[in-house]
Structure formats: C-alpha cells, structure tokens
C-alpha cells in the first residue's frame, strides 16, 4: 500500500493530484468524466470580484507539445461563484482550493474577505500573475514588492485558518527572491508555475494569432521550466510546500515534479487532451512509486535533492 496523501500547510488531501486553475472550469464539466472525490482537490478557475467576459477569440493556438491561451479570466465573479459553483462542488464532496485574482491589492483583500466565510474550502490559491492596474499593468508576480503586498493583504484579511498558496509566474529574473518575499508576507505555500508569456503568429493573416496578441504557454513544452523552478525554490525554501504544475501529462511527469520538490501536482493542459488524464496520472504515479519502493508520496518529495553520498535510507524511515 502506498500512502498517496499529502498536505499543503494545514490542509490534508488524500492524493497529490489536483486540477490546475482554469483547466477544470468550475468542476461540473469534468465531473462528467471523473469522480471528483478521487483526486486531491479541484482548484477552481481564478475568480475576480466582478463578472468578466475575458479576452476576444481566438483564445488558443496549439504549439509544438504545448498551447498558448488568452482566456483573460472570463468568469462569473466571486458572488455568483460562492452562491452557485462552490456549493455544487461541496455537495459533490469534492475538496476545493479556490483560486482568486485581482487587479489591485485591494481587490485581492476583498476576495479573501468573501472567501473567508464560505464553508468547504481547503485552501486559497492566490493567482498573482495578473496585471496590476495601479502600476502600468505590470504583472503583480513580476514585481517583488507588489507580490508581497498582495499576499500581506490577503493574509491579514483572511486570518490564520485557511492556507494561502501564492501562485507565481516563471517570467521573472529571480524567482527565488519573489518566493521568499511572498512567504515572508504570509504565504503558507507556493504554486509553481503559471504559464510562460508567448506568442504565435498566424501565417495566413500574418498577425498575432490570438485576439489578445500574447498568451500563456502551457503543456509538456514547459515542463523542464517547471521542474527547474520547483527545484530552485525547494532548494532555497525546503520547508515551504509547493504545488507544482506545468506540462504534467503522465505519472512519470508527476513524479518528476515531486522529486524536484512538489508536495502536490496540478494537471492543466493534459485534461484538454483527455478529461480523465488526472485519474490515469494518479494510477501511473502510484505504480511508479511502488516500483521505486517508496511507501508514501511524502518520501519522494524533494528526493532529487539528496546529497550524492547519501545511502538510500527510505526503508528505515
């Protein structure tokens, strides 16, 4: 028997496999294909305080082993989310991590206040890869100071109960310092990585293919970037739990992120190719752990960091 359970801050999950924000909509649609109770948790699409139309179409272009998207956080807004989507997930007995996004430090705090009183939430993911309207649209996650202020505001509003997971962007010069900043400001964990800013030019129109021009690259193409990010941050902050993501499509990939330091793994783009991907990944992961004689996921977290001299002491633990 392999113990698949994991924790992120004080939240416990029976499996380390999660949906990725924005890649499972509100959960209902995925539930046609998988039993939501079987996975670690549903991470919801990032919700903002007001309803949003998102960006113009086309919103997607496929790229080699990846895709770029520019959804632009289309969604119903926090009030409708809490009134409809969340209760449905809770009624299904799914564990839920709510993802929030804002355009100002204040909006994040407002969202945290609303989420605070909602029942059935395991953790809060704070997506700070959003343009900060108060600072020339500079993405919060690319600005150490703004990232810190967002998390600080959320922490203060939320109180100490719900774990806060700050979701970072890989599009920065110094990821580790951003990570340290948000942890100092009160984040209990880190979600790594959001999509990589990218573009595809349509060779027929000879203009950027996406309506929004640029979009975020996801899928297996970016997995080596995600592994590096997770490894670097785990090395610098070994006690901070990491929810890893970026191109995970098989159990092998999930294990790679776990060995690098992830305590949980979100599956995003792979669900578009197969809505039941997360379940096969979970089964494959279990098998791979068994073959490697791990008895729990916890033993494998960050295992790639062990010193070369180390004798394998897993069995004695």
């Amino acid at each position: 028997m392999i113990d698949l359970s994991t924790t992120l801050g004080n939240a416990w999950f029976p499996s380390p496999l999660f949906t990725a924000s924005g890649c499972a909509s509100s959960g209902k649609e995925l539930a046609q294909f998988i039993d939501l109770r079987e996975i670690g948790a549903v991470v919801t699409k990032s919700v903002m305080s007001k309803p949003r139309h998102g960006r113009p179409t086309p919103r997607i272009a496929e790229t080699p082993s990846g895709m770029i998207n520019s959804i632009g956080l289309q969604g119903p807004g926090i009030d409708q989310f809490l009134a409809q989507d969340l209760p449905w997930l809770v009624s299904q007995k799914a564990r839920v991590i709510v993802s929030i996004a804002g355009e100002t430090v204040e909006e994040y705090a407002t969202l945290a206040r609303k989420v605070r009183s909602a029942p059935g939430i395991s953790a809060l993911e704070v997506n700070i890869s959003c343009p900060n309207v108060e600072n020339r649209g500079l993405v919060f996650a690319c600005d150490p100071d703004a990232s810190r202020r967002v998390i600080d505001g959320v922490r203060k509003t939320l109180g100490g109960e719900l774990p806060i997971i700050a979701k970072l962007s890989p599009d920065v010069t110094d990821l580790v310092s951003i990570a340290k900043g948000v942890v100092d400001a009160g984040a209990d964990g880190l979600a790594l990585i959001n999509t990589v800013l990218s573009m595809v030019i349509n060779l027929e129109t000879m203009r950027p293919h996406l309506g929004a021009k640029t979009g975020g690259l996801s899928g297996p193409a970016i997995r080596p970037i995600a592994v590096r990010a997770i490894y670097q941050v785990h090395e610098a902050l070994p006690t901070v739990p990491i929810l890893g993501m970026g191109g995970v499509a098989t159990g092998r990939d999930a294990l790679e992120l776990i060995l690098a330091g992830a305590k949980g793994v979100s599956v995003g783009t792979a669900s578009f190719g197969d809505p039941a991907a997360i379940i096969s990944i979970q089964n494959e992961l279990k098998e791979l752990l068994k073959v490697r004689e791990f008895t729990s996921v916890a033993q494998a977290v960050g295992y790639a960091h062990r010193p070369v001299e180390d004798i394998d002491t897993r069995h004695e633990q």
Binding site: G22, C23, A24, S25, K28, E29, L30, A31, Q32, F33, K45, K50, P51, R52, H53, G54, R55, P56, T57, P58, R59, I60, A61, E62, P64, S65, G66, M67, N69, I71, Q74, G211, G219, P220, A249, T269, A270, S271, F272, G273, D274, P275, A276
Partner: protein, 282 residues
C-alpha cells in the same frame, strides 16, 4: 448537473473505411453502442498524430451519420477536410487503424414536433451532419430542401444515398464548376419572402452562418446553426471556444460553443461581436 455530455465517453474506435470523396475523406469508424447516443449536430473529439505526437489537443469533427446496423455493428461517419497537420493525419489513417475519440459531444439540432418545411444549408464539409439530420426530419414528416455551397465542386459533399431523404437538393459553387454559379445564401431571401420555409438548419463557415442569420432577422423563420470556433478541450473546461450569445433579456455573454453549441439559435449569436468582447458586463 448539466445534461450536456452526459452520454459522452472515450473509446478506441477502428477505422472501417477511409475513402476520398472530392477534396474530403469519408471516414467510417466502428464505435459500437455509442451510436445510440449520437444525434445530428453532435461532434466527436479525436486525438491526432499517434503516440509520440507533438500535437496535444483533440480535433473536433461533426458526426456526419451514424448507423446501428451494418456489417460491423454501430458505426459513425466523418467527413474530413485535410487542412492542417491533425486533419491530414486523420485522413491518412487506413482501414484497421485505431482512433482515440470522445463522443458524442455538444448540442444537437432541435427537431420540431410538427412537420415543418425545413431548409438545410451547408457550406463545404458543413453538409456532413445535414444528411443525418435530413433523415430524421423526413421521418417526422417534414419537407426537406437542401442547398449546398462551396467555392468549387470538389468541396461539395453530397453523397448519393444522402439525397434520398431530401426533397430538393441544389448546389452552388462560386466558380460555377458544379451546380449553379453563386453563393448558397443568395436564393434564401426569396424563399423566405415566398413563405416556403419555417426552419433553417445551417452548418458551414461562420460568415455563411452570419449571412443567414441576417437574412432571417425580422422574419418568423427559426435559424439553427452549427458554429465552429477553435476548441482546445471540446468538453467545456477551457473556455477557449466562446462566442458572444444573448440571453432572453438580450444580455450578451461569452458562451462555450462546445457545450452550449455547436448548435445554437442563430438569432441569439451577437455576430458583430465575434472576435471581440462585449464592452461592459450587463
């Protein structure tokens, strides 16, 4: 829970046959019992490129027809234009190849409970689902006229057998290489003015759907169109495939064409906003 995709599932289907028909491939897949849940207008999402492919997203194709009884059990027909890498791969799959698919997906054409006069308008491979639809309508006692259009004759898909369910079949090509020269939308205003049509079912390029919507606007004719937007997931989880659609109060929001479509009421689509977003939220 939304009933959409309730009956959809993933399976590995075998290619029964793959024939070139004009510029398309007519691909027959053995899908067994699944056909019981397939309705005209539904689509299928196919994994392309084989095991080691750099293509990670499924490709959507309308289900052209299904048949329960056949030498191989339940089968599904697709009409595929070899367009980019994915559709070319599919067109290159020989008899016996295995295809990973999810179906049936999306909304279906609404079938009237009364016998009505139906006009089916297809552009290019858009005619594919119309023949299956024609059969259903015919069985309900409807009068079924079908107008098909394309730039050139090789892009008209109109199989012999399909014509049986149709009262009138007219073909329009822009280069005049088959049927009449001109656009398939040109004769519609007169038909409507003469009161010869109650419902229009359409499938084809978005500009054609938009043109028909504009023609029927103000008339009593209902227009059910099967839209086509780029889809990443096909099952409602990615929000890439949205179109601006008005609700009963006229408020426009971005709806997913994979689960709120592909068949939509043409009158509700805010055609002028396609590729844009509504200015403000209602």
């Amino acid at each position: 829970m939304s009933p959409i995709n309730k009956f959809s599932g993933r399976m590995i289907a075998t290619v029964v046959s793959n024939k070139r028909v004009g510029q398309y491939h007519q691909i027959l897949l053995n899908v067994g019992e699944m056909v019981n849940n397939c309705k005209p207008g539904n689509f299928v999402a196919i994994k392309v490129g084989g095991e080691n492919a750099k293509m990670i997203l499924r490709r959507a194709f309308a289900i052209s027809r299904v048949s329960l009884t056949g030498p191989y059990g339940g089968s599904m027909e697709l009409i595929v234009a070899p367009f980019g890498q994915g559709s070319k791969w599919l067109c290159s799959q020989d008899e016996g190849s295995e295809i990973d698919l999810i179906a049936p997906l999306g909304t279906a054409f609404g079938i009237p409970t009364q016998p009505v006069r139906a006009l089916l308008v297809g552009g290019g491979y858009g005619s594919a689902p119309l023949f299956g639809l024609a059969e259903v309508l015919k069985n309900r006692g409807c009068r079924v006229d079908m107008y098909l259009g394309a730039s050139t004759g090789g892009k008209i898909y109109a199989p012999m057998e399909g014509k049986r369910s149709v009262n009138v079949l007219r073909i329009y090509t822009e280069d005049g290489s088959m049927g009449e020269r001109g656009r398939v939308t040109e004769p519609i205003p007169t038909l409507i003015a003469d009161g010869l049509v109650d419902v229009i079912y359409s499938c084809g390029p978005m500009p054609m759907l938009r043109a028909i919507s504009e023609i029927v606007a103000g008339s009593d004719v209902v227009h059910q169109c099967a839209v086509e937007e780029s889809m990443a997931c096909g099952v409602g989880i990615c929000m890439t495939c949205v179109l601006p659609v008005a609700d009963a109060d006229g408020n426009v929001s971005m709806r997913r064409s994979c689960i709120d479509g592909p068949v939509m009421d043409g009158a509700n689509v805010a055609w002028d906003l396609v590729g844009k977003v509504p200015e403000v939220f209602p």
